[in-house]
């Protein structure tokens, strides 16, 4: 991490000028005024922007779906591909599967397109009440066992794209990139207005195996 504020701000400016997303850190709040000014200058370099046709089409699809009665969350829309027919069909299938054993906590569940159940552990391997990190294809998760039940949340911070770690001492998931932490059910522990962690679909088979809905 750059120590000098001018270096850090120039990184943000350079990213903006290359058309990249604003990737900010907790420490960037010190320069919030300069950052918002930079974003505004970057955004005003050209004539007022119009939506990219592909985005407009995706948005139209989402609006039609919303109006026809099926409310679609933003993340749900993104995961389903917003117009990818295969994703929509897969989502419907997964939804039916999930009805039997939903394990939800704080944030929205991750329903990957073309998701599949991945065996990640034996129930008996999971320590009671302690975070256990697993990977199911492209999905990273922390599992928490309570008796015979298991819940799971994403292992990626909801604010910055950093891998969380389980603090045994504090009993929470901590982000290494900034002072943010989350309870085992994915709720932020501090006063910051951080979103909850996404939950991850998890189930326990009759044979006592724990499976996470992940990807190939």
């Amino acid at each position: 991490m750059s120590r000098k504020p001018e270096d850090r701000l120039d990184k943000i400016v350079s990213d903006l000028l290359r058309g990249r997303r604003l990737k900010l850190r907790g420490g960037d709040a010190e320069e919030k005024a300069a950052i918002t000014a930079a974003a505004r200058l970057a955004g005003a370099r050209q004539a007022p922007q119009r939506m990219h046709p592909a985005f407009r089409n995706r948005l139209a699809g989402a609006l039609e779906q919303t109006r026809s009665g099926g409310w679609m969350t933003r993340r749900g829309a993104l995961v389903a591909g917003l117009g990818l027919a295969a994703g929509a069909a897969g989502g419907a299938f997964l939804s039916r599967e999930m009805e039997t054993q939903p394990r939800r906590a704080g944030g929205e569940p991750i329903d990957p397109a073309n998701g599949r159940w991945v065996d990640v552990a034996a129930l008996t391997d999971l320590p009671e009440g302690q975070g256990h990190q697993v990977v199911a294809g492209s999905i990273g998760a922390f599992l928490f066992r309570r008796g015979d039940s298991v819940s799971a949340v994403s292992s990626i911070c909801s604010h910055l794209p950093c891998e969380l770690w389980w603090s045994h001492r504090d009993g929470h998931l901590a982000c290494p990139c900034h002072p943010a932490a989350f309870t085992p059910d994915g709720r932020p522990t501090n006063a910051y207005a951080l979103p909850a962690l996404n939950t991850v679909r998890v189930r326990v088979t009759a044979a006592g195996r724990v499976e996470v809905l992940g990807t190939e």
Binding site: L22, D28, R40, A44, R45, Q46, A60, R67
Partner: protein, 176 residues
């Protein structure tokens, strides 16, 4: 109660024309919202995410036969709320902590045509050096090295000047 405050409540319903014509109208209005947001976050990916958030939040609360002005007002009120949440989340600040900057980031009314005129208004209120470094960097797309060469300075000095110029730009208040 302001429009923005109204947008934060779950019970209020505005009217929107029926069927897919409503989607077309909503999309045209969302074009303005997109331009409004893009001008404040400065990149396409975040602008698309936030515009989609606005659509998802606002559209389900709209119903048939509302005048376009009411729809637009509602969408922009939602856009202001979504932008506030975006900055507070990205910077790890509460919206109260961010409040002092909201006047810059989120103007009171929809002004999607602002663009370069707004930038020029900001730049004209800066000192010559600050204005020049921001013009070269943002409007002409110069690298730091090119700016340094143009201004007969060093990259390090230009980097510091860029930071100070942006801090100064943030303090400029423009009538909306």
């Amino acid at each position: 109660m302001t429009t923005e405050e109204q947008a934060g409540q779950s019970g209020d319903i505005l009217e929107l024309p029926a069927a897919s014509r409503a989607t077309d109208i909503a999309l045209d209005e969302l074009e303005l919202v997109y331009a409004f947001i893009y001008a404040r976050v400065g990149n396409r990916a975040d602008a698309e995410d936030l515009t989609q958030q606005v659509a998802m939040k606002a559209i389900p609360r709209l119903r048939q036969t509302a005048p376009a002005s009411a729809i637009r007002g509602y969408l922009f009120a939602t856009a202001r709320s979504v932008l506030g949440a975006f900055w507070s989340t990205r910077l790890g600040l509460s919206e109260a902590e961010l409040h002092e900057d909201l006047a810059l980031v989120i103007p009171a009314g929809p002004s999607p045509e602002a663009g370069i005129e707004t930038v020029q208004q900001i730049l004209t209120q800066l000192s010559d050096n600050y204005r020049r470094v921001l013009e070269l960097r943002f409007l002409h797309g110069y690298s730091l090295k090119e700016v340094a060469a143009e201004m007969h300075s060093t990259v390090g000095a230009i980097k510091v000047m860029q930071l100070r110029a942006l801090r100064a730009a943030a303090k400029v208040r423009i009538p909306e």
